[in-house]
């Protein structure tokens, strides 16, 4: 589904990603862990097409297409969803209106008619139930005045609405209490199937109790320095990242 080869990216001339290699197959769940500042969010942004970062080397192929050639919205419509670490507030724009525009753009891309108002509302209702998000939230402006937890839930709700092939969830667990974490994880799990894949970026093992990864990667200083099964997450939680640093020095 996704193949990243030797990806380098920099911002203002400073290299952040220093040769990332990653293969993701349909149906897989990958976890990416790593200390602060390692470049996890940068990787997610680069995949989504944030122009702030300059790709200096490497290639990214998504479903046989060269991803780096596409605009951010084209990537979204191809099926890449980014759950933002810090979801953006858009004052005055209601979530309903926002999602209607987005869903219909996706449909247009697939050659489908826009949804009728009633059908759209039904879809909203179904998905809201799925991710247990409060109705009130979708009537408010996008993320405006939301608590951290509400913002994260809203990301999962949008993911449910857009049904992506590849979801990259950047620290979707940070700042969530255990109940909210369960809700978010359940949402993600319900949306999972054999066709789509998920990349979970996280600091903590806890989320991975709920969203069980097939593979765990450690991203460190712009490179993936270790890849293993889900037990790696436990080990990281126990020992921190220092032992990896030491291993690297050796």
């Amino acid at each position: 589904m996704l193949s990243i080869k030797n990806l380098h990216a920099s911002i203002n001339g400073k290299e952040i990603l220093k040769g990332i290699n990653l293969e993701i197959k349909p149906g897989e769940v990958h976890a990416i862990m790593g200390p602060n500042g390692a470049g996890k969010s940068t990787l997610a942004s680069v995949l989504a097409g944030r122009e702030l970062f300059e790709v200096t080397e490497g290639e990214v192929v998504f479903e046989q297409k060269d991803l780096l050639d596409l605009s951010p919205e084209a990537r979204a419509k191809e099926g890449i969803f980014l759950g933002f670490q810090y979801p953006i507030e858009i004052p005055g724009v209601s979530t309903v209106n926002f999602m209607k525009t987005a869903v219909n753009e996706h449909r247009k891309y697939k050659g489908l008619e826009p949804l009728k108002a009633a059908d759209f509302l039904k879809l909203m209702r179904d998905k809201k139930n799925l991710v247990e998000i409060d109705s009130k939230l979708t009537n408010r402006s996008v993320n405006e005045g939301f608590s951290g937890g509400e913002k994260k839930k809203n990301e999962i709700f949008q993911m449910a609405m857009l049904e992506p092939k590849l979801a990259v969830l950047d620290e979707t667990d940070s700042g969530l209490d255990i109940d909210a974490l369960r809700v978010v994880a359940n949402g993600v799990n319900k949306l999972k199937n054999a066709e789509n894949s998920t990349v979970v970026i996280t600091h903590y093992q806890r989320l991975l109790d709920y969203i069980v990864p097939d593979v765990v990667h450690v991203l460190f200083d712009g490179r993936i320095v270790k890849t293993a099964g889900k037990e790696l997450a436990l080990e990281l939680e126990e020992k921190g990242y220092d032992w990896i640093k030491e291993e690297l020095v050796k």
Binding site: A48, L52, E73, R75, F84, I90, G92, M99, A102
Partner: protein, 483 residues
């Protein structure tokens, strides 16, 4: 967003067309260019006016001669030759319209094209319309239905003929002809406009609306609106305007006067879409308007809501004099400027009565090479106890060649007043656009969403039919322009 893309999108906007820019071939009765006492006498006699009207016009004219065009606004206006303007033009019609069939088919076609059918059956049942083309009112709908409740809704000229006492009592009491240069000019030469009178205790059952259209060439439009709301009455009034695309600039100088008595309430909404000129700044309407209301009675309420997208130059400050104790006024405005448009607009809230309240919400959006200024005054006079004002003026910039300016004046002469002003200037956030992009929404649509969201607070204050129109207008005026 990448610089090239911004430029591309900016370019696209500058090519978007003004869809009301056609002109109609209608016989017009107009007088020769130029202004003099004779011209004023001619206008007055053409309109068969009583003596007091001519007196008023001449006094205004003589005063105007002593005045200079104001220069304080953040506007760059080439000198206007006031002798090169036709001061009276009216579509030729039968003297008095008996029924719809009497309206010139060309005129009906014009308004059909604009989406304003003059046929009452075709009209939205809750809007009565007075239609003013060039200098004359061509048709007022639902007149009779309203008359049953004692409401007078007619053209200004009809009111002069049929209700001279009311005109004489109220005209010029809120905006005296000495008020400013354009008010004096209008008072001298105005030809028509709308008149509304709501009797005591009556809630006007439908929206009243005036639609202004400049059609004839080389003419100025000078209309005058007078709204009187007696105790415990209510009216919602809408005003819309368009003009054909012409290469020369045309002058529009209007006056609106509103009188709100005890416990009465007026909502005055405007969608101003005069021709803004082409993308190089050629042509377009010079829009100099004096709008003012007085909350004369206790607990009187006056709300202004405006969406301003048109005109080459806009100079307009709808104002409220809060005289009655407990009276209140709100001002909601969205002003969009694009290409070479210039707008200097805002409001004045004059607090005189005790416990008076005002709210100002102004949203400026500038794109292209335009300049958009907010200018407002909040004044609390010495003996006014317990005045409250809150003002919020935000500017949104789309592109790096436009300007946004804010000039609030706060004059407080009483210690019990609470006056707050906040203003921000920002551009559409790159991160907001990226967030939308990531959900599959194109940059253009993202901007549309964000701008409409930005203006929503104001648009929500407009009556339904107008709100939809206003929203479309915003999208058209800004089609894609972002940086």
């Amino acid at each position: 967003m990448a610089k090239e893309e911004q430029d591309k999108i900016l370019n696209e906007v500058t090519q978007s067309d003004y869809k009301y820019g056609f002109s109609s071939d209608i016989d017009t009765d107009s007088i020769a260019k130029g202004l003099s006492e004779d011209v004023i006498r001619l206008i007055s006699s053409k309109k068969n006016e009583p003596e007091f009207m001519l007196e008023f016009r001449l006094k205004a004219y003589r005063h105007w001669l002593t005045m200079k065009m104001p220069e304080w606004a953040h506007l760059d206006i080439p000198p206007i030759d006031y002798q090169d303007i036709i001061y009276y033009a009216a579509p030729v019609q039968k003297a008095k319209l008996e029924s719809m069939d009497d309206v010139d088919p060309e005129i009906r076609a014009t308004f059909d094209k604009l989406g304003i059918p003059l046929d009452e059956q075709k009209l939205l049942s809750n809007v009565a319309v007075d239609v003013v083309m060039d200098s004359s009112s061509v048709k007022t709908t639902f007149k009779e239905a309203l008359a049953e409740k004692g409401i007078i809704f007619c053209s200004f000229s009809d009111a002069v003929q049929d209700h001279p006492d009311l005109i004489q009592e109220y005209m010029g009491t809120v905006v005296p002809y000495r008020d400013n240069f354009f008010a004096a000019l209008n008072s001298a030469v105005f030809s028509d406009g709308s008149f509304v009178y709501i009797p005591k205790g009556v809630r006007c059952p439908m929206e009243l609306s005036t639609y202004f259209r400049i059609n004839a060439e080389n003419t100025g439009q000078f209309e005058r609106t007078l709204i009187i709301c007696e105790d415990e009455s209510y009216v919602s009034y809408l005003e819309g305007c368009t003009a054909p695309m012409r290469d020369e600039n045309q002058l529009h100088a209007a006056i609106v006067e509103i009188i709100v008595k005890d416990n009465a309430e007026v909502k005055y909404s405007t969608v101003q879409n005069w021709y803004p000129g082409n993308k190089d700044g050629l042509g377009g309407i010079y829009n100099f308007v004096t709008k003012r209301g007085i909350c004369e009675g206790v607990n009187a309420k006056l709300m202004w809501a405006q969406v301003e997208t048109g005109s080459a130059v806009t100079w307009k400050y709808p104002s409220t004099i809060l005289k009655g104790d407990g009276s209140s006024s709100e001002f909601y405005s969205v002003a969009v400027t694009n290409n070479h448009q210039q707008a200097d607009t805002g409001t004045k809230m004059i607090h005189i009565g005790n416990n008076t309240k005002s709210t100002i919400i102004s949203k400026g959006i500038s794109a292209g090479k335009s300049n958009n200024s907010y200018r407002g005054l909040v004044k609390v006079v010495k003996n006014c106890e317990g005045a409250r004002n809150f003002s919020q003026c935000d500017s949104l910039l789309l592109g790096d060649k436009c300007g946004a300016h804010t000039y609030p004046y706060l004059e407080v002469h009483n210690k019990s007043a609470k006056v707050e002003h906040e203003a921000t200037t920002s551009k559409i956030g790159e991160d907001q656009i990226f967030y939308c992009n990531q959900r599959g929404i194109s940059t253009e649509d993202a901007i549309g969403l964000i701008v409409n969201g930005y203006a929503k607070e104001v648009i929500n204050k407009m009556p339904m039919e107008f709100a939809v129109e206003a929203q479309k207008l915003l999208a058209i005026s800004l089609e894609g322009s972002v940086g």
